[in-house]
Amino acid sequence: MNIVAVYNIKGGVGKTSAAVNIAHLAAQDGFRVLLWDLDPQAASTYYFRVKPRIRGGGKKMIRGKLDLDDQIKGTDYENLDLLPADFSYRKMDVALGDIKKPALQLLKLLRPLSYEFDLVVLDCPPSISLVSENIFHAASALLVPTIPTTLSIRTYQQLLKFLKENKLDRIDVLPFFSMADRRKSMHVEIMRQLPKKYRNFMDAWIPYASDVERMGLHREPVTAFAPNAIAARAYQRLWNEVAERLSLQPM
């Protein structure tokens, strides 16, 4: 089982969009995929039309009192299951704080599922917190959507610094450009320069495209409702590259 987190300190950069589409493409390729919606905003849960839990089971679940297994819901797609967001994730930091080794709790919860899924995609909430620290410990790779702006570069550097300071640099960091607009000269320039400095930047990038926004109307991944759209093909390239870089294989 491989765990890949789609993460950025900032919100609104395309994390959920990437997580949803990549999970969908991986499932199409025969991976048994679990998408865990860790964001209380429940955006990926919404995209898959699953009703989020509201009754606060999340706290129990995080503490290991509730079986993760029973919370998983199938989606509209074969091989793709979802662990829906829980509104009480807002209090997740608090829930985690009560546990002995809080930073490893997420990994511990996922372990029993390791023979059931080939790939777990974590759709992460923004910010650096105890939750994200958990994510860094559990994931073998971080997919970092990065809007090609100077500001995002700073956040990216912040992330690298945090990983280094916390001795988390064993994790594969895979940044990619997200919501890129080739008509904007700043985007073009940054997309040219940054990969020279950070060799690990992915070749695949996601253009700014209204099809991605339309996911909210369709409540489906763009790779499902418009598989030939430019955005869908970009996600396909991104997924192919991720699979290759991480040597992912369905079991």
């Binding site: 199409q28 048994r32 039309r49 819901k73 509209d76 074969e78 023979y115 059931e116 294989q249 079991m251």
Partner: protein, 536 residues
Amino acid sequence: MISRRKPTINPDTAFSPVAGVSLEQFLGELGHRFDFSEERPAYIDRTYLDSFDWRLFEGGGTLCFERESHARRLVWTPHDSRQGRVMLGRVNKPPRFGWDYPPGAMRSTIGPLLEMRALLPRIDLVTRVRTLRLLDDERKTVVRLRVEESRPRRAERDDDELNQEQPPVAVRIVTLPVRGYDDELADLRKWLYDSDRVTPRTPCLLEEAINATGGRVADYSSKLDFEFDPDMPAAEAVREIHRFLLGVMEQNLFGVREDIDSEFLHDFRVAIRRTRSALTQVKGVLPASATDHFKERFAWLGQVTGPTRDMHVYLLGFDDYRDSLPRQYQGDLEPLRAFLIAHQKLEHGQLVERLASPEFEELIRQWRDFLARTDLGARSKHGDKPLIEVASKRIREMAQRVFEEGDAIDDRSPPEDLHELRKSCKKLRYLMEFFQSIYPANKIGGPIREIKRLLDNLGDYQDLEVQAGKLRHFAHQMVEEGATPADTLLAMGMLVDGLLRRQQQKRGEFSERYARFADTENRQRFQALFGNRGGK
């Protein structure tokens, strides 16, 4: 560790509309009861893969290479639907051998079943899939229902008209569970089970499709499995044996020619050996003039197929050879592998030529004609005698020879004595296997098992010696052919040493094995089974 998805309830049972009910009628009724949306129909191209001898099907499942829009995946579906399916995605072209698969559940499932056999396409299907999604109030899918209309595709033909001619496989309605919506699935399945419009059917699409084309799954076996009448004329039984063996040769011929996997040639050669054995061992049943000719011809065929088989054996055993060496010397053996591969190709090329020669075609044609003759038995000494008489006499004589040769062997006997004994044992084993159906099954099984056990020992003993000798021979040949590193030769020397040691070990085990084979009880069993009956 094999990872399998826990199925909720028997999810793979398929349903089909009963006679007289159209699919539309059924879907209409379904629509009254459930809220569903239908996806655009899709097409799945399916190629079922299995070895020539159906090892996967016989081993408990089917392997299918599915192409659906741009997805390409291999799916292992166990016959027992309580076990989960195993999938492998992103497969452009399915690897042919188990060992070519990436480590994981697929490989650990099919690898041990296939062993050295290659996967072959068994049937191509094109399936039109209508997917109905049962929806909840958020219009979220809670169960999927797939209606599959499949049609076999002629291999290598994409011609639509031809495909239209192929008989369709009955419509299959399959429910696909969505995790976390067990109640909805149970509702739907209960409705399907209760409905008099559809009926559950066998879940194996491969079998249904092959049947629809008039074929049969698992239709190949090289095992001797005859049903003889003890009183039938001996010549008729022998004719049947030879016909079966000729059939095995003919069925394997294409795989031998194309070198698809090593087992084709293996089965081919076993059939030759058994043919020769039947020709020589069942004496006086066929006209002598003819048997002499065919004995000589099949000996020739055995001989020309030998070198390629040798190379197969070394290649199949290569990893074991390598692993038997200390780790630091294992790499030194690689030039041997290259040598074996190159020579296997050469030998196989020659074999293909021989199999295309007039001599070979003539042999097969003459043999087939000969076996079709109506007067087989009349022109021989014992051909018209009851089978049981002829068979028992031959087995009795051969068993006596085995016991005589075996009893004479002690710890100082030369290897040749054991090799001789092996030959006699093989003859005895073939005779018993040819004719086992005319003896009580619960009685002849024991002696056959015992002789196989003894043969395992004798076979290993001789094969290890032959292998050691051959390796020495290869070493010389490699030096002659060019620069072979000294380290390689040294590593091969270690191999030879290891083989000879193992051979000695087998020699040490012989007396215990033989004692068990030749104990009073087994001798009595032979006497009781094959002793005089009505004869002299």
